[in-house]
Symmetry: C2
Subunit: 133 residues, 2 copies
DNA sequence: CCACAATCAATGTATATACATCTATTGCGA
DNA sequence: TCGCAATAGATGTATATACATTGATTGTGG
């Protein structure tokens, strides 16, 4: 199962990133932009929880995204935390990327079929929940 | 979909690798050992095709595995190709890892349920096939 | 209030991963 | 057979990813 997921994950990532390459945006980065747009301000640890990603992994990715000016950070009341928000440039970049992303996705959805597509979304999230809770 | 798969992939990888850590074996490496045990001798490109992994990515991973003596390589008739086989030490390592791997997997399969488990295997492979063919 | 455990993120290190480019070979058409 | 396109990997570079360890801060029991 792990092997199957990793293989499909690689294939999907290559497919989607092909569409984002002209924008200089990677799949992980796109996902983070999207999450921040929906969630507003979150701490690095919370973001890691949402993505099932080690919080220290985010240190490196967020450093890159900050370099591009896509996110802003500030210290919260608990000064150990980094609280992250989408910057204006990040919003712009997300809006530029969305059409390309959606285009790849809708084409794939059609090929896979509505039924299978919905099952997959449901089942993958179910597995993630099982593992992380 | 890409985000869901990548998230689940991370969660699964952490779960399975936890079990392999005492053996110093990573998920990708385990998978390669398994594939070589089943497929016998294959070229680097063929292996990449089976795993939906860029052939040049394998250059680095195979270098590590060769360092451990888990695989052997030789040039084929076409001298551009690297033909790979499981070495004795790789077979030993695979057999040591299998119980731990299976233990994690059977526990997860029970939690997920037979129905969902089988659907997932089928659907993930279907998506991979769609993208890579 | 204070010592100490717990928590958050930063850093060091190793592997995974892909693409662009390069080198060596092969195959093929004239 | 010769020249050139195609192919298989190797290499340079950038990002993704996790874990172990560390530093800073917070919470808590005495």
């Amino acid at each position: 199962m792990c092997g199957s997921f990793r293989r499909t994950s690689r294939a999907l990532t290559q497919l989607y990133e092909q569409a984002l390459r002209p924008l200089g945006l990677r799949a992980t980065q796109f996902t983070i932009l999207q999450v921040l747009a929906l969630a507003g301000e979150v701490s690095q640890g919370q973001l890691g929880g949402m993505l099932a990603m080690d919080s220290t992994t985010l240190t490196r990715t967020l450093e890159i995204m900050g370099r591009h000016g896509w996110i802003t950070e500030r210290r919260g009341r608990d000064r150990r935390e980094r609280r992250l928000r989408l910057a204006k440039a990040g919003e712009v970049q997300l809006n530029r990327a969305l059409p390309a992303w959606e285009k790849v996705q809708s084409r794939l959805r059609r090929q896979v079929g509505e039924q299978a597509w919905n099952s997959l979304l449901h089942l993958t999230n179910q597995v993630t929940d099982l593992i992380t809770n």
